[in-house]
């Protein structure tokens, strides 16, 4: 094997006296994909930030091409050919795609930005990541998935020798993810060393040459190509074996709880959607990014009211012109974007948990503080929310615990219809399982659960039934016994044009 491009030796890092990394080592070789996996808080992101010059280690050394180096800033890291694609998007939404790709290193002539060069070069990298948008398009107008690809295009345009990707596929549709994975393989064949962080173990299994597992800020183990398996990774990550990852059990389904007829959403005014949900079933809503999944849930929850159509909840006709009306009808929505739509980050766990049910527990407009406390005392242990206390601002909780707070807030309204949009995005494995278990419990207690996911494994693992959306209309429905990755994808890409009940 060639000598490593980049080595981290015994890296330690503390934040205000707390050790986030306890002597972690890692090496990246040219032409390989090194997957780094671990639960949230294991130290993956901190280690990556140190490699990319965002933060400096307290001790340990970084070796680039065999020589010990100090990487003091992102610019220095770039000079060594090390680029990091952040998990959180770092784009200027009001600028166009080309400007974002070249942000901070715009090609120029005598001080004037060379717009022509930006456009031609942007086109090249955009094509490489398989994103068909104009360089002049505003980033703010793109979907989250497309924005992620712009972020990747940005990293590609610096010709990095070591490319670090932190959860690059977490917001991509399956199709987009496939393009990205192909791109990664292509880069690997050209000798780029790729460090790949993902919670999607299936993806890691198919892609990685080596896996480095971190746990609690330390190296927990290494797996080589032939040793990589779902079970082996999970075992190293959590320090024990997980019996069954998806706790799915067949459910007894009851009455129709949600009956949607002729629903026309603002996002896809040309298409109508009809479907039903029954009590006690978990239904997956699959489709590519842009197929209108979130828009459908937003319409059902009254955030963006539908243009047309009737909705019955437990047989009763309901109007859904605002979230409050949907809540009164017994519908709850765990939204896609946890930080922006689901939580009040600076507010405490208590205030976040109670916000959706306050109006039910009021007396003459006044807060019922006893009920509020009781709610926290019920939810925190029931959902196993790990927080320093009920007043801890939720911004300091892990992704999984944040998501549990959002779910708890809706549990408090005792809904009959539970809509979840990407419920496990950015959540670590342990918490993922807990969320699955919660979904199971909800169904067992008679709620109808409809969840959107871009993670096919999750869709296959958790659904009693799958509805597939393609360009705003339902392209098909699959029962559990007919479920397969291919079947879902065929409907999602509408490769096979089934005459769906939804055509006008």
């Amino acid at each position: 094997m060639a000598s490593p491009l980049l080595e981290a030796r015994q890296i330690s890092k503390s934040f205000a006296g707390v050790r986030a990394l306890k002597g972690v080592s890692l090496s990246v070789y040219p032409g390989e994909v090194l997957a780094v996996v671990g639960e949230n808080g294991a130290g993956k992101s901190t280690l990556m930030k140190i490699l990319a010059g965002v933060q400096r280690p307290d001790s340990g050394e970084l070796v680039v091409d065999g020589a010990v180096r100090t990487i003091g800033s992102v610019q220095e890291a770039l000079r060594f050919g090390i680029a990091l694609i952040h998990q959180e998007l770092n784009l200027a939404e009001t600028l166009d795609v080309g400007a974002n790709i070249f942000l901070g290193r715009e090609p120029h002539r005598c001080g004037w930005v060379d717009a022509v060069r930006i456009e031609t070069e942007a086109r090249i990298v955009l094509e490489r990541v398989g994103l068909s948008v104009e360089p002049g398009a505003l980033v703010g107008d793109l979907t989250i998935g497309q924005q992620q690809l712009v972020e990747i295009a940005k990293a590609l345009s610096v010709n990095a020798r070591v490319l670090i990707m932190d959860e690059p596929t977490s917001s991509l549709s399956d199709h987009e993810a496939k393009v990205l994975l192909r791109l990664i393989r292509e880069l690997r064949s050209k000798g780029t060393g790729i460090v790949y962080i993902s919670h999607r173990l299936g993806e890691v299994q198919g892609l990685a040459d080596r896996v480095e597992v971190l746990r609690d800020g330390d190296n927990a183990g290494r797996l080589l190509r032939e040793e990589i398996s779902h079970g082996a990774m999970v075992q190293l990550m959590v320090g024990r074996a997980l019996a069954q990852f998806y706790p799915h059990e067949p459910h007894e389904t009851g009455e129709v709880v949600l009956d949607v007829v002729g629903l026309r959403t603002r996002a896809n005014p040309g298409k109508v959607v009809d479907f039903q949900l029954r009590a006690g079933e978990i239904v997956g809503l699959a489709g590519l990014v842009g197929a209108g999944r979130s828009e459908l849930l937003d319409a059902l929850f009254g955030v963006v009211p539908a243009l047309q159509g009737t909705v019955r909840v437990s047989g009763e006709l309901v109007e859904l012109r605002s979230p409050r009306m949907a809540m009164d009808a017994g519908i709850a929505l765990v939204p896609e974007d946890r930080k922006h739509q689901g939580l009040f980050l600076e507010m405490g766990v208590r205030e976040n948990l109670s916000i959706a049910s306050l109006h039910r527990e009021q007396t003459g407009g006044f807060l019922n503080r006893a009920k509020e406390r009781a709610l926290c005392e019920e939810m925190m242990p029931a959902l196993r929310i790990k927080a320093a206390g009920v007043e801890q601002p939720v911004q300091f909780l892990s992704g999984g615990n944040q998501q549990k707070v959002v779910i708890g807030k809706w549990l408090a309204t005792r809904p009959g219809v539970f809509l979840l949009d990407e419920p496990t995005r950015g959540v670590d494995i342990g918490a993922k399982q807990e969320i699955y278990r919660l979904m199971e419990e909800l169904a067992a207690n008679g709620a109808a659960v409809l969840f959107v996911s871009s993670d096919l494994e999750e869709i296959l693992g958790m659904s009693d039934r799958v509805l597939v959306l393609h360009e705003g209309r339902l392209s098909g429905e699959l029962l559990r016994k007919d479920l397969s990755e291919e079947a879902v994808m065929r409907l999602a890409t509408a490769a096979h044009t089934e005459v769906a009940a939804s055509s006008i």
């Binding site: 205000a16 939204p335 922006h340 507010m347 892990s398």
Partner: protein, 329 residues
């Protein structure tokens, strides 16, 4: 409460220093004056505080003070309206202005800055229009009505409480109850923190926003009435000029974040008082009041910077604690 400690400390320091430098600062007469002015400005500041808490801004309140301050004497002494009708009219106008702002902001989605900036120009212009730029006042009439602002309630021997203080107390108590004890107060805070999440939580965000602007303009109207009753005359060209900025400064000093979601009534009261004490200090201690704005500006800046630094230290500590708990768990 802990958050207001810094600004409260600053107020105490300014008071102690002034008392050491000037014998008259703690005289009953001066304390009464400062309390009355703080009460008048405090009412305005609480109003704008509500808007700031929702993440908005109200630049029009100085002009609302002007409109109402000119309208009341004009209606009473020029148009000879009966008192209850005139009071009702100015109340309706000030609340109506808030409603108008709120609807423009929520239904037409025009930015609060622009809506209220236009209001700033509009209402003063209207006041100047119907008064034809003439100074309006009560002259020697309406002495009883004016007691609402100029009256005093004996408190200690030789020390009376100025009437506006009671208005302030009432407003402040109601505001504090509303903000901290009702679901609507919680909604306002949540809305200010994250309007999108508020929508997704089923909070009637539009109604809450409108409510905040109605409160702001309504209290500006009350302030306008009390101001004109105190001063006895109003010139539409300059009455209430810049009061929106004093009110916003007081609210920000008192811990309201212009990003929304943060703010306490106690803090706003301390902020408003600090502003008035500073102005008093400058007149009492120095013989030049032309540096007044420089000093006020500097003190506000010091207060806000100190607050920001304190917040950062706290955040760093908290982050450390979180890391500790997550690496332990």
């Amino acid at each position: 409460m802990k958050k207001n400690l810094g600004i409260f400390g600053l107020l105490v320091v300014v008071c102690v220093v002034t008392a050491l430098l000037s014998d008259s600062f703690l005289s009953a007469y001066n304390v009464e004056n400062v309390l009355r002015r703080s009460a008048l400005f405090g009412i305005l500041s609480i109003g704008v505080g509500f808007v700031i808490i929702t993440g908005g801004i109200d630049l029009s309140l100085g002009s609302v003070v002007c409109l109402v301050g000119c309208a009341l004497p004009w209606l009473l002494t020029v148009q000879h309206w009966p008192l209850p009708l005139a009071l009702l009219a100015v109340a309706a106008v000030s609340l109506g202005i808030g409603l108008f702002h709120g609807l423009l902001i929520t239904k037409l989605r025009i930015q609060p800055f622009i809506v209220t900036l236009c209001g700033l120009l509009l209402y003063r212009g209207v006041a100047r229009g119907f008064t034809a730029d003439q100074t309006v006042g009560f002259g020697t009439e309406f002495k009883t009505l004016r007691l609402l602002s100029t009256g005093k309630v004996p408190f200690l021997p030789g020390f009376d409480l100025p009437a506006p203080l009671f208005f302030l107390a009432l407003v402040a108590i109601l505001a504090a109850l509303f903000l901290n004890r009702t679901i609507f107060g919680r909604y306002l805070l949540a809305l200010g923190r994250n309007p999108q999440a508020a929508t997704y939580s089923g909070i009637p965000t539009q109604r809450m926003t409108v409510l905040a602007y109605v409160i702001s303009s309504g209290l500006a109207g009350l302030g306008g009435v009390l101001f004109v009753l105190d001063v006895n005359s109003a010139q539409p060209v300059d009455f209430g000029n810049f009061y929106e900025l004093y009110a916003i400064a007081a609210a920000v000093l008192g811990g309201c974040s212009l990003r929304g979601g943060e703010g306490s009534i106690v803090g706003i009261l301390i902020g408003a008082t600090l502003m008035q004490v500073l102005r008093n200090t400058i007149t009492l201690v120095t013989t030049r009041n032309n540096v007044e704005f420089a000093i006020i500006g500097a003190v506000i800046l010091v207060g806000v910077v100190a607050d920001e630094l304190a917040r950062r230290v706290a955040a760093r500590r908290r982050a450390a604690r979180v890391l500790l708990s997550s690496s332990a768990g």
